[in-house]
């Protein structure tokens, strides 16, 4: 017994002695930016790791002699050999390799990672590789080329992932939640592509640290800022322009900053129109402008501790003016988003990584209407045989009303990553979000200037709603030679007044490698969504007003099952994945009475609950890359349905964006150092619409205020015609002195002028009309990098 105990201790000691933790950071040698997703591999122990978003890695090996290979797409690989008996930490700097095309090189590892972890990482290079709409490189449009991800109406940046709706996507920007992902009309997302370092998209198998939305997670990290030298980019486009500055602060190169801003100048065209309206040369005009600002400060306290401060501010301002003889009308919509976040990371021990985050977010929309009515007094006088007509205007009514909706969040979080064994990593942590909702603050002032002057003031204000949403999670990842298994559990809780909800959300995933090239994967994910979006049905303004779960409005729930297979043929530069999914949603909400109404007062009266959804489909994805070109083909076949007791007589009906087929092919070709070409062609089934099947008529009814109305056999009973378009782009790069660059890009959106139907309507002459939004959109951009 005694000897057995001694032998056991010796064996344990031997194992302990042989296990060393190797950790450190992988960064870009030129800029000092961390490289997230870099691969590290130790051949002798056959263990590997991937750097996290801060470029940190940690792996345990059994050997004293180790040779580590470091690789990252677009960078020259490196090998480091050393001997050690104790935990070792060091940093590696990789040099960009100009020989390697840093574009859509989807390596065997990343294709497998997509399938295994449900993660699709999108790099800035992938966003750059697509033709643009309006000259603006857009993250969300780049995501829509992936199978299973759809955009809504043409040109809009809303995301519909695997049958979910646009309010079911969790957007995180530098650890702060983002509630409205698009600028006005949603043509452009709020994420400035120039400032993006990395984007992680999860369509399924979400890590347990994420919660609160049903359909997807889009985790965006902006660059930290160049620590080595001062850099900048100016971009001048047809619709908007932008700039970005980044660089070190101080000589020690421990602090860096990034500042990016963009704005449109569509309103410049309205400078003359204001005058024309004043002098009645025109009756009306509309104006629109937006801007957004991103700022980030990063400071390295020491090699194991770093803090970050991020700020985002975006504003959209849309207005219309209408002036007739006796009436003046002004309508405006002002959308404001502000985010302030602070996060830090700390390497507590070689195998223990700790991260904290805190953020403050506000999201506000203000709709204002101003109307003046005049009485025209005409006098006719005679002078020298001529009649002189004089019109004078007297103001007799003035109406002003403002409707504001507002959301404020304070978020706190802590996350730990601990590699406690060679093949096992534990992630655990906690998050708290304090929400303040004000869906409707309505004020009205009506003034009457008649024989009796009086003013009527009206306020319809709902008191603010407060809620606290918390998440506690634990997730273990086991990586063996052929098998990987992720088991996670998230406990989420939600409290609002006397309503308290809690849910366990398991996250399970398993993958098995069939050889060096293929792997199977299966996963199950359960997600809960506690906040609901009151969507305007019109989707032109696409205003999303957020409200909490209450005692009568429970949280929404989704279960997703998926299986898939990935195959990589690195010698041929091909990666293939085939995936199928089934998603079931319960307790869905639907805001029934908001047709055109900007006033969400008494919103609880009009929310339908208890809805069900189901979506299922098959996704296929093929990447092919070569030295000068790359191409991606994606196809998705899917079905998507909803059911509410109070809609469609309680029967299931197709969801608005139930598009049966979506096929996309993208390509990028580098001709030489100067010229690069890109193209995108997509074809998809049209989305669903309500189109009348008949007209109910009753002349001079005693019971109805109208003589006829359209009837529909069911909700979303018809489909728009198929949609297809081709986008092409060309870029010419010129290298100037001192490594400066001048880039001129030409893009044509919808190059063959396909008049895709965006919506149908029946005009007053009973003719069916199709309306397209963007017939063709050629743009040019000039970019100067220094």
């Amino acid at each position: 017994m005694k000897y057995s105990f001694i032998i056991f201790i010796l064996l344990f000691a031997k194992t302990a002695i042989c296990q060393v933790v190797i950790s450190g950071f992988v960064t870009d040698k030129n800029t000092g930016e961390p490289l997230p997703g870099a691969a590290i591999y130790e051949q002798k122990s056959a263990v590997g790791a991937v750097t996290n978003i801060h470029g940190y890695f940690s792996l345990k090996t059994k050997n004293n002699e180790n040779t580590l290979s470091f690789s990252f797409v677009g960078y020259s690989p490196q090998k480091v050999t050393f001997t050690t008996r104790k935990d070792t930490s060091f940093s590696v700097q990789l040099l960009p390799d100009v020989e390697i095309e840093e574009v859509i090189i989807t390596s065997a590892k990343s294709k497998e990672q997509t399938l295994v972890n449900g993660l699709t990482s999108i790099s800035p290079a992938q966003i750059d590789a697509l033709p643009t709409m309006g000259g603006e490189k857009d993250l969300l449009k780049a995501i829509t080329v992936l199978p299973g991800v759809m955009e809504g109406r043409e040109g809009f940046s809303s995301l519909f992932v695997r049958g979910g709706s646009s309010d079911q996507n969790l957007f995180i920007l530098d650890d702060a939640p983002v509630y409205n992902s698009g600028h006005l009309f949603n043509f452009i997302s709020v994420f400035n592509a120039q400032a993006i370092k990395k984007v992680d998209l999860y369509k399924n198998n979400y890590p347990a640290k994420y919660g609160g939305k049903l359909s997807s997670v889009v985790d965006i990290m902006f660059k930290d800022g160049n620590k080595e030298e001062f850099k900048g980019i100016f971009d001048l486009g047809v619709i908007n322009s932008k700039f970005l500055f980044e660089g070190p602060i101080g000589e020690k190169k421990k602090t860096s900053f990034l500042f990016a801003a963009r704005s449109t100048y569509l309103d410049l065209f309205n400078l003359t129109k204001k005058k024309q309206l004043k002098y009645k040369a025109i009756d009306s005009y509309w104006g629109y402008t937006f801007y957004d600002i991103n700022a980030k400060l990063s400071h390295e306290i020491n090699k194991n501790n770093k803090v970050f401060l991020s700020f985002f501010r975006g504003q959209d301002y849309y207005r219309t003016f209408d002036q007739r003889d006796s009436r003046y009308n002004k309508f405006s919509y002002n959308l404001l988003n502000t985010t302030l976040s602070m996060h830090s990371y700390h390497v507590l021990a070689p195998a223990l990584f700790f991260k904290t985050s805190a953020s403050y977010v506000t999201n506000q929309g203000i709709i204002s209407v101003h109307e003046e009515n005049y009485r025209i007094n005409r006098t006719v006088t005679q002078e020298n045989g001529h009649f002189i007509v004089t019109d004078t205007k007297d103001l007799f009514t003035r109406f002003n009303n403002d409707n504001t909706n507002r959301l404020e969040d304070i978020t706190l979080g802590m996350d730990f990553t601990w590699q406690y064994m060679v093949n096992n990593t534990l992630n655990f942590g906690v998050s708290h979000i304090m929400h303040k909702f004000q869906p409707s603050l309505f004020t009205e002032k009506n003034e009457y200037f008649d024989s009796v002057e009086y003013v009527i003031n009206n306020e319809l204000n709902e008191s603010a709603y407060y809620s606290v949403e918390s998440g506690y999670y634990l997730e273990n990842t086991t990586r063996l030679e052929r098998l990987q298994f992720i088991a996670g559990l998230r406990l989420s809780t939600y409290k609002h007044k006397n309503a308290f909800y809690y849910n366990f959300e398991p996250r399970l995933s398993a993958s098995y490698k069939t050889g060096s090239m293929g792997s199977f994967q299966a996963s199950y994910t359960r997600m809960q969504q506690y906040n609901h979006a009151l969507n305007r049905n019109d989707q032109v303004l696409d205003m999303m007003v957020w409200v909490p779960s209450t005692k009568n409005i429970p949280p929404q729930l989704a279960h997703q099952y998926s299986i898939g297979y990935a195959l990589s043929l690195p010698s041929r530069g091909i990666g293939i994945s085939l995936n199928s999914y089934y998603k079931r949603m319960n307790q869905l909400t639907f805001y029934k009475t908001n047709y055109g109404s900007s006033n969400f007062y008494n919103w609880q009266q009009n929310v339908l609950t208890g809805g069900n959804g189901r979506s299922y489909g098959v996704e296929m994805d093929i990447d092919k890359h070569g030295k000068n070109f790359s191409t991606k083909i994606s196809y998705c076949l899917s079905w998507n349905f909803r059911q509410f007791e109070e809609l469609n007589n309680g029967k299931w009906y197709p969801y608005l964006y139930d598009r049966r087929h979506v096929f996309t092919i993208t390509g990028s070709y580098t001709l030489n150092d100067k010229w690069k070409f890109k193209a995108l062609w997509t074809i998809s089934s049209g989305h669903r619409i309500n189109f009348p099947d008949g007209k109910a008529v009753q002349q001079q009814s005693r019971y109805l205020p109208l003589e006829s109305y359209f009837v529909y056999s069911s909700m979303n009973n018809r489909q728009l015609p198929a949609y297809h378009r081709l986008d092409i782009g060309a870029e010419r790069t010129r290298i100037l002195k001192n490594k400066k660059e001048l880039l001129v890009s030409f893009n044509i959106y919808n190059a063959y002028f396909q008049k895709n139907t965006n919506y149908l309507y029946i005009d007053n002459n009973d003719v069916v009309k199709s309306v397209s939004f963007i017939p063709i959109l050629p743009t040019m951009n000039i970019t100067y990098k220094f």
Binding site: L656, K695, S701, P705, P721
Partner: protein, 269 residues
Amino acid sequence: MKNKIVLLFVSFCFFLMNCEIEKEIEYPIRYQEKKLFITGFIGPVNALEMEVGQVVPPLENDYDPLKEVRAELFRNNVSMGGIQNADDNFLYHNTGYQAIAGDTFYIEVSAEGIESARSNFQVIPRSVKLDSVSHFISMDNEIKVFIYFTDPPDNNYYSLLIKKYHTTGSISGFDQYIDLSNAFIDKEFNGTSHRIIHDIQRNYDDPIERIDVFLITTTKEVYNFYKSVWDFEGYNSDIFVQPVIIESNIQNGEGIFGAYNFDMLSIEF
């Protein structure tokens, strides 16, 4: 030359950005056969009242009027007799029976050349008692009528009607046909006392000597129908909005067949 090309390209961009393409399109209309469109109501007074129209192709404006319209009323699955149309497709049937809360009705309607339609069951709801009505004359020379009632704890749907009797003998506000178009729901005051203030403009030429206040209780189907009708009427012209689908409880047809009950109190001036 290069500059000219760039300038042309930029000009072309600005021009095309302002293009919105609208065109006539051949979009197949999936119209089936004609159907009946019914709006009918049954209440505690011994009458069924209804109008019968038709559902025609969505783009059609010339259509033949209905012929040989017949309706049959069923109470607790027993026929109470039928009625035929008058010239204007308004039907009024005096059943001779005073319906009570809990009675279940449905109607079957047919017309020449059109398949018959049948309504879903409608149950006469319980009436909710008016606690009191009172009034005063405001500074603006309006008669403010205060109506008090206590809402039962379950879901209830109401409408309010005011019948005005003038000194000249005329009656206004509510003629002989029931009007449930202002139906509302009790979500805000469920299970509690509620007060409604109704304003009546005074008319010195034809003063009011008495008003009858009717608190009408009706069904969920009637409420949903009129709510969707008002939504449709308000936003139908907005082409950016998803079309409003008007509710219906008619099988093989469109429209509403609704049941109601009421309580009434009067005020004499």
